[in-house]
Amino acid sequence: MFNYTFQWKQALARLPQMLDGAVVTMQVALLSMAIGIALAVVLTLFRLSGSRILSGIATSWVEIARNTPALFQIYMAHFGVASFGIHFSPWTSLLLGITFNNAGYLAENFRGALKAIPDTQARAGRSLGLSELQAFRFIVMPQMLRISFLPMTNQMVWAILMTSLGVTVGMNTDLYGVTQDLNALTFRTFELFAVAAVIFYLITKVIQLGARLLARRMFRY
């Protein structure tokens, strides 16, 4: 049918190496997500703090993260900051880049979620004797995280997809990096990347399924 001979065996023989890469990809994405959520909560607090400096920092972070390409952010985390003599390994640079991006997007999601939580709730908490931080921690934040759960799942999928950008900063242990290395050896571009695509697809499905189960557990809609 096609004027091309597929060599799937050559690609499938490398499957174990690619699966190792998939593990690294998941590690980076999960870590970036965990740190990203924590940072996004902090950024949200900064925005609520009323302090001009703090909310300025938070706003700049969010706007830069949302208005420049992720590839740019990762490249910057490696080559940009090195101009100041700060050196990160490819793994760290990739993690930093994605985390920066995650935190920015999630903080914006949290802001949207906060609008759905009436002020009166936090005020009621305050009048019960909770401190401002306690009111946020026990009343506002749980609802905020629940409302943002779907955007968070999407962000997690994006984090997985973003790991593929690590090659630009010398990463070769993640799924994309491994695939590209193998491609340099064998030049079997189509077969290798098709296998990588299937693995990526399965990872995102597992994450979405996991998120759905988790949501059912946690929120009991």
């Binding site: 049918m1 004027n3 090195a82 003599g85 490819p90 010398g170 990096g177 590209q180 064998t186 030049f187």
Partner: protein, 269 residues
């Protein structure tokens, strides 16, 4: 069932018939255009001048070939990892991109006879103590993803069992990382190493030693099935050497001395 298979056969023949008549060489001549994949961050083989126009040994080589074919040359910039996808996806007709002719790769693409041969050098950051190539053991080293030296260096790091290997997407990123101190050392072709040290673009780096590798014979690449084109490329390379153009380009881009010998003693191609 029978009817369907007849139709399928007819469609298949119809779709196959047209391209089977002319081969790539004919296509190039007919289209009046030769599209070459060239890596442009690989001085002196390929780089850009102050107007961001492509220049270098490989660029001239492509121009010469186009002139021989009587067509216009079109330089398509690719990175090392992207040159094969560019070739097999038909965005370029050939690659003049310092492609090492390994047996593993020859399973996928067609190689001409070698048109150049590199020796490789170890380049280190000034702050790192290193006497010879074995000093790279245990250090953070890197090279350009998808190149002969990267494959060698990664193998070497694995063999040593210590240290770290990082492939970057292009030569410039490797030297940038080396100059910034993110890498302790790299292996690159002697030509590239000397050009980069000399240019002053990358302060704080020095050439340490030659890398103990078999010379890196690089060839032009075309689709594996295009024998007519590959035959033409072979003759073209032979003519470049025969007419002295090879030595001329070497003097223009690389410098003094003898250009690398492209023959291997004791064996036919």
């Amino acid at each position: 069932m029978k009817f369907a298979s007849i139709i399928a056969a007819a469609v298949a023949t119809a779709s196959m018939a047209a391209p089977a008549l002319a081969d790539k060489l004919d296509d190039i001549i007919a289209s009046g255009k030769l599209r070459c994949a060239v890596v442009l961050d690989f001085p002196p083989m390929g780089s850009r001048d102050a107007n961001n126009q492509p220049i270098g040994f490989d660029v001239d080589y492509c121009n010469d070939l186009a002139a021989a074919l009587g067509v216009q040359a079109e330089i398509v910039e690719t990175t090392f990892p992207e040159r094969i996808p560019a070739l097999v996806s038909g965005q370029v007709d050939i690659g003049v991109a310092s492609t090492s002719d390994t047996l593993e790769r020859a399973k996928t693409v067609g190689f001409s006879i070698p048109y150049y041969a590199f020796e490789n050098a170890v380049v280190a950051n000034d702050k790192v103590e290193m006497a010879d190539w074995e000093g790279m053991k245990g250090k953070t080293v890197g090279a350009t993803a998808g190149t002969y030296e990267a494959i060698w260096l990664e193998g070497q790091v694995k063999e040593w069992g210590e240290g770290q290997f990082r492939p970057y997407q292009n030569q410039a990123d490797v030297f940038l990382a080396l100059s910034q101190g993110q890498l302790d050392a790299t292996v690159s072709t002697v030509e590239v190493a000397e050009a980069n040290v000399k240019s002053g673009n990358f302060p704080g780096i020095r050439i340490v030693d030659k890398a103990p590798m078999v010379p890196d014979y690089v060839a032009l690449i075309a689709l594996r099935s295009e024998h007519g084109l590959i035959d033409y490329l072979n003759l073209f390379i032979n003519q470049q050497v025969r007419t002295g153009r090879y030595a001329e380009l070497y003097a223009k881009w690389v410098g003094e001395g003898e250009p690398a010998d492209l023959t291997i003693k004791g064996v036919y191609r």
